[in-house]
């Protein structure tokens, strides 16, 4: 996990240690037994919700941020990289240069990638 902005793809995944729920235009995240609560605004929430470990961050930014928030892709990606690095620092999110594959959820269809 690195906070540095580097060329190439970045993959992001929601940490399984977190609890999370969208409440209106925000996402509330709770760090398990630490009982620490984070709130993500609508931009950060969009990234969180798409962070399935398999979709590259630049695709998430293009699809969810640039389309919805009228911002240039390069600027949005820089901001997104800084954001996910910060969230990774809190253990809220995993960031990797390679896809992050999680174990299948019991009871979920084989094609299901993660929680929404």
């Amino acid at each position: 996990m690195s906070a540095a902005v580097a060329p190439g793809k970045r993959y992001v995944a929601r940490s399984k240690q977190m609890a999370a729920r969208r409440l209106g235009d925000e996402v509330m995240i709770m760090a398990g037994s630490e009982a620490t609560v984070y709130t993500l605004n609508d931009v950060a929430a969009a990234i969180w919700e798409e962070a399935d470990g398999l979709t590259p961050l630049d695709e998430i930014v293009e699809r969810r941020i640039c389309r919805d928030f009228d911002v240039a892709p390069e600027d949005a990606l820089q901001d997104a990289l800084a954001l996910v690095a910060e969230l990774a620092g809190h253990g809220v999110m995993e960031v990797s240069d390679t896809p992050i594959v999680s174990k299948r959820i019991p009871g979920a269809p084989e094609s299901e990638k993660g929680s929404r």
């Binding site: 929601r14 399984k16 240690q17 977190m18 609890a19 999370a20 729920r21 969208r22 409440l23 209106g24 509330m28 709770m30 398990g32 037994s33 009982a35 609560v37 709130t39 959820i105 019991p106 009871g107 979920a108 929680s115």
Partner: protein, 383 residues
């Protein structure tokens, strides 16, 4: 409560979102606690698939916090499957309530992997002869304490939860010291709940006023005693608009049979998730909507009571006494024990007793039928 949590609660209330749901996964139990309010027979618990479907519906409804309780949750063979589904598929924040008897190293490690928020373990005394005589399970104290240690060693947040009763009221300090020794939290609940079917026999285990008064003046439990036991000022105009508690507003309860109630302590049948979608029940149940309509000003006796805004009146206990808009006598007794000032309801009881309107419950408590209400319900005392 942190301001962020408070903000979350207020937002959920404004949006009509059931932020927290308690799921009793089973009423079966390996203990037979003398004060328990449940019938432990299995009358047709929801199956694994039904729980998964319910969790899907709860997530869609915006539920964030789930408390899994019972009965003893670990008696369900599919307990970890349900928990895993709740945590990994829907990312609920999950608290567990258990007696811990079935939790060993392996279970504790699994609970850590699944990042449950906390595990609350019932402990009624630091002395086996007292605790085991309450649970009616020999060796249960030792097992529960071992479980607390296993969980603590995994870095989980653990709470020892005690209930104040005639049998154990001398021992809560011992449980508190035990909790401190293990490095976990301690809470003491001074409320014994009537059986879900309305049977009030277990209330005979309630402690008397003297014990309540002494307990409420224990600085180690309540913090600032002067503040905790201060003379009530009566409700302000704003407070008259307030709701009694979160039951039906941002909280509800689902039984192992799929019945939805405003709260585990408020057994007002409001729908069944086997027959209806959870969100339809939450949004349209006439019973839940009736509960939501009730503000302090709507309580005929409690709104006129000096304890109105400071009392911990539980609408569920009031319901179990026969009127959800009425007083909860157990809570009137607690307000009296805290402040030395009788509630309007207790005063009515005194005058009504001579007129033959009250009857004893055998627990130092007297229930009033057909007399106006008053608010109270002491929350768990937290150290």
């Amino acid at each position: 409560m942190s301001s962020l949590m408070q903000e979350m609660g207020e937002k959920a209330l404004a949006m009509g979102i059931p932020l927290t749901v308690q799921l009793d996964l089973t009423y079966r139990c390996n203990e037979r606690c003398v004060h328990c309010y449940l019938d432990h027979d299995d009358h047709g618990e929801m199956a694994t698939a039904e729980y998964k479907k319910l969790l899907d519906e709860l997530a869609a409804a915006g539920v964030f916090f789930i408390t899994m309780s019972g009965g003893e949750i670990l008696l369900r063979k599919d307990f970890f499957e349900i928990l895993e589904y709740a945590r990994l598929k829907h990312m609920f924040s999950v608290k567990l309530k258990t007696n811990g008897v079935l939790i060993r190293e392996r279970e504790a490690a699994r609970l850590r992997e699944l990042a449950v928020e906390s595990v609350q373990i019932s402990v009624y005394s630091h002395r086996p002869e007292v605790h085991d005589a309450i649970t009616l399970l020999p060796g249960s104290l030792a097992r529960s304490i071992e479980a607390a240690k296993f969980l603590k060693s995994q870095g989980l947040q653990v709470i020892l939860a005690d209930v104040l009763m005639r049998q154990n009221h001398l021992d809560y300090s011992g449980v508190k010291a035990l909790a401190a020794d293990i490095g976990v939290r301690f809470i003491l609940d001074p409320t014994i709940t009537p059986m879900m079917d309305g049977d009030r026999g277990v209330l005979s285990l309630n402690v008397n006023q003297d014990v309540l008064q002494k307990t409420f003046r224990d600085e180690g439990l309540v913090g600032n005693v002067e503040e905790f036991c201060s003379i009530p000022k009566g409700a302000s105009a704003d407070e008259m608009e307030s709701y009694p508690c979160s039951a039906g507003h941002t909280f509800c309860y689902v039984s192992p049979y799929g019945d939805v109630y405003p709260c585990v302590q408020f057994p007002l049948p409001s729908g069944n998730v086997r027959r209806m979608r959870f969100l339809d029940i939450w949004n349209h149940s006439p019973q839940l909507n009736e509960v939501r309509d009730i503000q302090l000003r709507d309580l005929p006796s409690c709104s006129q009571c000096v304890h109105g805004s400071t009392c911990t009146r539980c609408p569920g206990l009031a319901f179990l006494e026969g009127n959800m808009r009425g007083p909860s006598l157990q809570d009137c007794e607690k307000s009296f024990a805290r402040t030395g000032i009788p509630s309007k309801n207790l005063e009515a009881k005194r005058s009504g007793a001579s007129a033959g309107h009250s009857h004893g419950l055998g627990a130092g408590l007297v229930q009033i039928q057909g007399v106006a209400p008053s608010p109270v319900a002491v929350p768990a005392l937290v150290s």
